[in-house]
């Protein structure tokens, strides 16, 4: 992000506008914010619909307003909290008409849905090892050959001078294995884990009829392993504690500031009421998830929501 911004601005000082989806992970949001604070970037957040999706028309409108001042656009392939998949190819096509490079954070999508960088039309894409069962602390930046980002780290010139530093061979080799397995198992994962996720969604909605499913309800519009709910009248933290005590690990899916749960920026961007946004839970399934796991959640969620509602919103 930073490297692409610098190189685009170096080529033409007018290019200082950064277009970003407002539902990006903080890994991207904070970098974009930093460019705005320290590098003279004008950050413009693209509108999203109620499912948190950026539409190609919205990108077109934003770029066309002044194609010459756009440094780059960044839109995640799929959202980490609510699982919504973005129309990456269409977005890249729109940007290509104006010669604007697009970066996609594909950390969530990798291993769950087809992620073909070469066919995507993207200028840059990032993936990470820990989301596919690989090692922590390693990721990959896929970069179009025509891109020449300014390095963030300088040194020995490793990795085509983009990222200097002695290569962590064990991590790279492990990541490669994990990546190969993720690609091989992707269809199985999408089918089996997706079905398990559908069972979970049905079970939660049966136990708590007023639970609101976050993200795109259409099966093709969301990640197969993601289920996101809002439970009106509940504090997500209360639910977390109650489920944790029964060995159910989930997340409120919101950003932490000093460990304090704030209403999720993703939900706020989709127009969710801030009070409602406090009662969210994200269930992420993985390749080790079983039917018994889903049944345990189905059994626990009703009483937990009832209890959390009694505890109220402090």
């Amino acid at each position: 992000m930073k490297g692409l911004y610098w190189s685009r601005r170096d080529a033409d000082p007018a290019r200082t506008r950064v277009l970003a989806s407002p539902v990006e992970h903080h890994a991207v949001l904070d970098a974009v914010h930093w460019l705005g604070e320290h590098e003279g970037a004008t950050v413009e957040y693209l509108p999203v619909d109620a499912h948190g999706r950026v539409h190609p028309d919205a990108l077109r409108e934003a770029v066309a307003r002044n194609p010459d001042d756009v440094a780059l656009a960044t839109v995640m392939w799929a959202n980490n909290e609510i699982g919504t998949v973005m129309p990456v190819r269409e977005l890249a096509d729109v940007a290509a008409e104006f010669g604007v490079p697009v970066h996609a954070d594909a950390v969530q999508a990798f291993g769950q849905i087809p992620v073909d960088f070469a066919a995507s039309g993207l200028a840059a894409m990032t993936v990470s090892g820990h989301k596919i069962g690989g090692p922590y602390g390693i990721g990959a930046l896929l970069l179009g050959r025509d891109q020449t980002p300014v390095p963030v780290l300088h040194g020995g010139g490793q990795e085509r001078h983009v990222r200097s530093g002695t290569l962590d061979v064990p991590a790279i080799a492990s990541f490669a294995v994990a990546g190969r397995l993720a690609a091989e198992q992707r269809e199985w994962f999408a089918r089996e884990i997706g079905a398990l996720r559908d069972t979970l969604v049905t079970a939660v909605r049966t136990a708590v009829p007023d639970a609101i499913l976050g993200g795109d309800p259409a099966p093709g519009g969301r990640l197969p392993a993601n289920a996101h709910f809002t439970f009106p009248g509940c504090e997500g933290d209360s639910l977390l504690l109650l489920l944790d005590a029964q060995g159910i690990e989930c997340s409120t899916g919101s950003a932490c500031t000093a460990g304090v749960a704030q209403p999720s920026h993703v939900l706020l961007a989709t127009g969710t009421d801030p009070d409602l946004a406090r009662g969210t839970l994200r269930f992420s399934l993985g390749h080790t998830s079983t039917r018994a796991d889903v049944e345990a959640v189905a059994k626990a969620i009703g009483p937990a929501v009832e209890r959390a509602r009694a505890a109220g919103l402090t």
Binding site: D237, S238, L240, L241, L242, D244, A245, T257, A258, G259, V260, A261, R307, A308, A310, A311, G312, T314
Partner: protein, 374 residues
């Protein structure tokens, strides 16, 4: 019998990130209770609210609490009670000073946050009790009723700031540090033995939400400058101030009066009048109080039926003094056996029967020995 020897309870331990609450949580867990640690995020903006890891509201403090919970081996959460804390404690604190009174925010926090907002939430979520690092004792009598008592170690006793707890709150309170004769150094040694990294952490300030201890500066920022007169007992103007709210009855320092008193003796704040923004000063004798009335009484058990003789404590870390007290139409009427000095409206009077805390009330007005004063 003390509370730590009961049947196992589901306990929510409030962990500030300091040494006392960490050891308290460890002791509760060791006593066989099912303990969950929770750090209360009391500041909406922790990074700017206070800096430096000396209190209980910074990110550092939250991390210290989390590390302690890890070492003890208990689940840990951070709960955001910032809105409630701001409304019930900080705003109340500012409003009380603005009204010329001297509030005790720790008392208010125990009454409204730790043993109300937090306790209610804990009970609703299936916990039996809230555990804190306060130095005080809950004693269970044979009939099952609870009594709040001073800590075994008088020097560490914090029962004053708990004098607002009623019997229901006491029934769900656990103070594992209260029944041991100990000093902070021993608690620190115990923390070190237990491998708790907070063993050497400095003590927190008295008022956790005023980072630098500068109460006047904090109030000035909230209330703005409001210049007014400092007058003597005759009403003659002898100086000026930048806000009557910045003073406390009995205060001697920081008056910045240019001319000395006629008798050359130091002068003290006798009265604060927010209505005409005036601070009255005078000799120390004029601070002597013979009686007071206090409102909003709270009883740590059954309210006393008739007049009685008690010992009273008038401020945190204050000494004891003998009083006669009677509840008249919901107001506590208190007469001192010997005149006492420096009694500030807004502070709590806590009544004791021996080591037992009888109850507390908020001081509303005082009767001076030297009636000319106010």
């Amino acid at each position: 019998m003390t509370e730590t020897s009961q049947r196992p309870l589901r306990v929510l331990a409030a962990m500030s990130g300091g040494v006392d609450s960490a050891v308290a949580a460890a002791r509760a867990a060791e006593a066989g209770h099912d303990v969950t640690g929770v750090h209360l995020a009391l500041s909406a903006n922790p990074q700017s609210f206070r800096t430096g890891a000396r209190g209980c509201c910074t990110i550092e403090d939250s991390r210290d609490a989390r590390r302690a919970a890890d070492v003890i081996g208990i689940p840990f959460y951070v709960w955001d009670l910032a809105d409630r804390f701001r409304e019930d404690v900080v705003d109340d604190f500012v409003a009380e000073y603005e009204a010329g009174r001297t509030p005790n925010p720790c008392l208010r926090c125990n009454e409204k946050i730790k043993f109300a907002a937090l306790l209610d939430k804990a009970l609703a979520l299936g916990f039996d009790a809230v555990c804190t690092g306060h130095y005080a004792q809950v004693i269970v009598r044979e009939d099952g009723s609870r009594e709040l008592h001073r800590a075994s170690d008088m020097a560490k006793d914090q029962s004053y700031v708990l004098g607002v707890l009623d019997e229901r709150q006491l029934a769900h309170a656990l103070f594992p540090l209260g029944d041991t004769v100990t000093t902070k150094d021993e608690i620190r040694a115990e923390a070190e033995r237990r491998g708790l990294a907070v063993a050497k952490k400095p003590d927190s300030h008295d008022i956790c939400f005023i980072a630098d201890g500068d109460t006047q500066g904090f109030l000035a920022k909230r209330l703005g400058k409001a210049e007014g007169d400092i007058v003597d007992e005759t009403g003659a103007r002898i100086g000026s101030h930048e806000g009557a709210y910045g003073f406390t009855i009995g205060q001697r320092k920081g008056l910045r009066i240019g001319t000395p008193a006629a008798d050359g003796k130091p002068r003290y704040v006798l009265d604060i009048s927010p209505v005409n923004n005036t601070v009255t000063v005078g000799p120390v004798e004029a601070l002597d109080v013979t009686a007071l009335t206090a409102v909003k009484p709270r009883w740590c058990g059954v309210a006393p039926a008739g007049p009685g003789t008690y010992t009273a404590q008038l401020r945190a870390h204050g000494g004891e003094t003998e009083v006669r007290a009677e509840l008249v139409d919901g107001t506590l009427e208190v007469t001192f056996t010997e005149p006492v000095r420096g009694v500030a409206p807004g502070q709590a009077i806590v009544l004791y029967d021996g080591t037992r805390v009888v109850g507390s009330a908020t001081i509303a007005s005082t009767t001076r020995a030297k009636t000319a004063a106010v």
